[in-house]
């Protein structure tokens, strides 16, 4: 593959795509490439990176809105937002340790993969906060959708379509996000010694309370050992509150009472709580050996315990976030069939985050679609990328 192009302006993205289209040569679309090992490998003649599109064109804290080039790094974006006391709502994880990648992820990469962290259970996914995009489609046309306001139903919502499309439909050049104030304080409540079924029942009770729980995870003992703030207590259920200081105190108190049937909780203060949830966000509790594959499975929360039990029986290592609805899994690549079966049994989906390249090229890295939907997928791909030059095969073989 020849050297990646990394234009400093959107017009350069247009030129690169037009040239690739004229030459009928596929492009590998990337930010900083930290997610190159996710899903299927792309066969491309050339790379096209958005890493140099880093301008913040608008930040209006009182309107809860920021617009930035797709190439801005997440740490730079967070630093900008910190000036207004705000942050990214969906808490995107930094998976570099888990994926064994170098470098920092970009806004475009997080949006293109719709990567959300623990707060997703209460406040929505990345896709819920993408208010506007600028992008270049596979015909080299600049397309805007949404805008810089919080409520907008004008026309088809291409922001949602492009979020999570892994660069297969268009190259994001600028993204406008809804942001929110950072919580004054966070605090967590640990319930030690619960098995997966009891643990998810506790998380469900917490999430079904009126106290605005913004994080709900269950870790088996070996996973909890890998997070200093959670270690030494066996398996733990963890529940987070983020709010004004007074509310955090009050709400943790109420939860302590309401969850008494699950045992006597241990409270984590602001610092410990932030550290623990950063670790959970980044999947640090998951031990992945060098040859291992890593999956994320999304199921109905109450199906989480059955999923984890089935997978642990095959030798996989796992933990649960999103109230039981997100199963993080690491294990030998050969477990892929078990992972698929478990996801289907839990009426959910799977995503291969990391695996040896031959496996990624050979298996369904996400579930195959029903034939009628697969037909629509191919037509939508053709409607946005008529020559099939943007990240071909990234999601599905031949698309």
């Amino acid at each position: 593959m020849s050297a990646a192009l990394a234009p400093a302006h959107e017009s350069g993205v247009v030129e690169a795509i037009l040239a690739a289209r004229a030459a009928n040569e596929p492009l590998l679309i990337q930010g900083r490439g930290t997610k190159a090992g996710m899903l299927r490998p792309v066969q491309a003649a050339r790379g096209l990176s958005t890493r140099n599109l880093t301008d913040v064109s608008l930040y209006s804290p009182q309107e809860l809105i920021i617009s930035a080039g797709a190439g801005i790094t997440i740490p730079d974006l967070e630093a900008k937002l910190a000036e207004g006391g705000q942050g990214i709502i969906a808490e995107p994880p930094d998976l570099s340790a888990l994926l064994g990648t170098e470098g920092v992820q970009t806004l475009g990469g997080v949006v293109a993969t719709n990567l959300s962290g623990p707060r997703r259970v209460a406040w929505g996914a990345m896709r819920d906060h993408v208010m506007g995009v600028r992008a270049v489609n596979g015909a080299g046309e600049v397309i805007r959708s949404g805008g810089r306001v919080l409520k907008n139903v004008t026309g088809l919502d291409l922001c949602k379509l492009l979020t999570g499309s892994y660069g297969t439909l268009a190259v994001l050049t600028e993204v406008t996000l809804k942001v929110l104030p950072r919580a004054e304080l966070t605090g967590s409540l640990l319930l030690p010694g619960l098995d997966a079924v009891q643990g998810v029942a506790a998380l469900s009770a917490a999430l079904g309370s009126p106290y605005g729980v913004s994080g709900a995870a269950w870790l088996p003992a070996d996973a909890a050992e890998r997070v200093p703030e959670l270690a030494g207590r066996g398996a733990v259920a963890v529940v987070r509150i983020e709010d004004f200081a007074r509310s955090v105190e009050y709400r943790l108190g109420r939860l302590t009472t309401d969850l008494a049937v699950f045992g006597t909780p241990v409270l984590l203060d602001d610092g410990a709580s932030r550290a623990a949830w950063r670790a959970i966000r980044d999947a640090m509790p998951l031990r992945a050996e060098p040859g291992d594959a890593v999956w994320r499975v999304s199921v109905r929360p109450s199906n989480g315990p059955a999923a984890i039990t089935a997978l642990e029986a095959t030798g996989a290592r796992c933990f649960l976030d999103w109230g039981g609805g997100l199963v993080w899994i690491a294990g030998p690549p050969a477990l892929h069939d078990s992972v698929m079966a478990t996801a289907l049994a839990g009426r959910g989906t799977w995503t291969v985050l990391r695996a040896p390249e031959p496996m990624r090229a050979a298996v369904d890295v996400i579930p195959a679609e029903a034939p009628a939907l697969a037909r629509i997928t191919r037509r939508v791909k053709a409607a946005m990328d008529p020559s099939g030059i943007l990240n071909p095969g990234r999601l599905y073989a031949g698309v």
Binding site: G124, R148, L161, L326, L373
Partner: protein
């Protein structure tokens, strides 16, 4: 005035045959073909436009919807999906050669799971019907359009509807987990489910707000939330729109996101007060209704902070509700706003643009100038936290040309919304009403891109084809069947 594309002559000619074909697919009472009984379906919440459809079908199951769509697809018959028909943008307006598929008979709640915090309902369940089904357990469905007693969840998905509380809880799109949809070809597909993140393209997000142009929705899985411990409102009045706007900035800038933050201008205050006797100060230029949630102590804390944040802007009155009853009284005026304006004017148009919140004073000043120039009164209601502006333009349809005049005024307001960085519609949809204005917000290339995506779902343009996109001068697209005949 809004044109309809010319009906397909062959479809009109084959009407008896098409009706006979449809009759075989649904229960006898589910097919309506007599002129008199078609009448109630001729319009929606934008009654200025009316058109009797070819026929109305009221299926009771997803299978019947699939059979009807497959039949219409085979016969080249256009289809207009319909929920309760409360669309304010003419989204459910029939065409003369179209079959309206109404889902009001699909009104069953299929599953409620408090542990997983979700409910699956048929598309014809009303918005309030979901909350009513789960409220005994202390849960609710968050998006709460003012039409929630009537409008249906399928229509909410069609329009991506919002409500007074979406500043905190988001709009319809943010509260959905899964859909059962039927394509124009009659294929039944499950999108998403009861899990949080589906893999692959975000069909759920694309379907939401697609105004019935991509597929029909027959079942919806929504997130249900545990209701907060309590909620309370306060009322703050200012002597200028600018000052109220600055107070809103100060509140949001302080890190407090109230669950609702509503703004009314002077004409709206007067209309609502005359109607509801909510105790609104009549000497105010601008009024904010601010609601917070939590325990009583938390409410006190937040309302106290907000009152302190308003203080530097010298409110001419500030009333913190002391009880649930008083909060209801404060909301009563705002919730009755449409009725209130309906009482002081024979007719009104409800507009729905969004603006960057900081532009509010400028936009209200410009709307005031336009109101003088057009000689039509306007009252403004504004979801101040998220920038969604509802000017209610008053007119008298019995005066010749008055409606067209009001429409032109409305179009000018929406153009202004786009000019200041906002958009044509925040929650009511484009429908037929704002179709021709789409050019103000989008380039031809962008519109063509959206049309090609519609074509990917509905290559023959049979599903609600006269909505959202400008009819005239449609650029030729890559997909076959996309170019609609231009209205005469």
């Amino acid at each position: 005035m809004i044109a309809q594309p010319p009906p397909k002559a062959d479809i009109i000619a084959r009407r008896p045959e098409i009706i006979a074909g449809l009759r075989a697919l649904v229960p006898a009472s589910g097919l309506i073909s007599e002129e008199l009984r078609l009448k109630p379906y001729e319009t929606d919440g934008l009654p200025a436009y009316r058109q009797i459809p070819l026929a109305v079908v009221l299926p009771e199951t997803t299978e019947q919807v699939a059979a009807v769509l497959a039949f219409c697809h085979k016969n080249g018959v256009r289809v207009v999906p319909r929920g309760a028909g409360t669309s304010l943008s003419g989204g459910a307006l029939p065409m003369a050669d179209s079959v309206v598929i109404g889902l009001m008979r699909m009104n069953r709640i299929l599953d409620i799971d408090y542990g997983d915090r979700c409910a699956t309902v048929q598309a014809g369940v009303t918005n309030i019907g979901i909350t009513n089904a789960v409220s005994a357990e202390g849960f609710f469905y968050a998006p709460d359009p003012s039409s929630q007693l009537a409008c249906m969840i399928g229509g909410n998905v069609g329009m991506n509807s919002g409500g007074a509380h979406c500043l905190k809880y988001g709009v319809t799109a943010n509260n959905l987990l899964g859909l059962k949809i039927v394509t124009m070809e009659g294929d039944v597909l499950d999108i998403g489910g009861a899990h949080l993140d589906a893999a692959g393209y975000d069909w759920l997000g694309l379907m939401t707000g697609s105004e019935g142009m991509l597929a029909m929705v027959t079942e919806v899985t929504v997130r249900i939330l545990r209701a907060p411990e309590g909620a309370r409102a306060m009322l703050v009045a200012f002597d200028a729109n600018e000052t109220a706007g600055r107070a809103v900035d100060a509140i949001i800038g302080s890190g407090i996101i109230p669950v609702a933050l509503e703004f009314m201008d002077r004409p709206a205050i007067h209309a609502c007060e005359a109607f509801a006797h909510a105790g609104y100060p009549l000497d105010a230029e601008a009024l904010l209704i601010i609601e917070v949630e939590g325990s009583v102590a938390e409410q006190d804390d937040l309302l106290g902070r907000i009152a302190a944040l308003c203080e530097p802007f010298h409110p001419i009155s500030l009333r913190v509700s002391q009880s649930a009853e008083e909060s209801i009284a404060i909301w009563k005026g705002r919730k009755g706003a449409f009725g209130a304006v309906g009482r002081i004017s024979p007719d009104y148009l409800c507009m729905d643009g969004t603006i960057p919140t900081g532009q509010l004073p400028f936009v209200l000043r410009r709307i005031g100038e336009m109101s003088d120039a057009y000689g039509l009164k306007v009252a403004n209601i504004f979801h101040a936290g998220d920038g969604n502006l509802h000017p209610l333009i008053m007119f008298d349809a019995n005066l010749a040309g008055n409606f067209e005049h009001a429409e032109a005024f409305g179009a000018d307001i929406l153009k202004l919304c786009v000019e200041v960085g906002g958009c044509l519609t925040g929650e009511h949809g484009v429908g037929v009403e704002k179709r021709e204005l789409m050019r103000v917000q989008f380039t031809d290339i962008e519109l063509d891109q959206q049309r090609r995506i519609k074509s990917a779902f509905d290559p023959d343009w049979l599903l609600n084809p006269s909505k959202v996109f400008p009819l005239v001068d449609m650029p030729v697209t890559a997909m076959p069947g996309t170019a609609m005949p231009v209205a005469a």
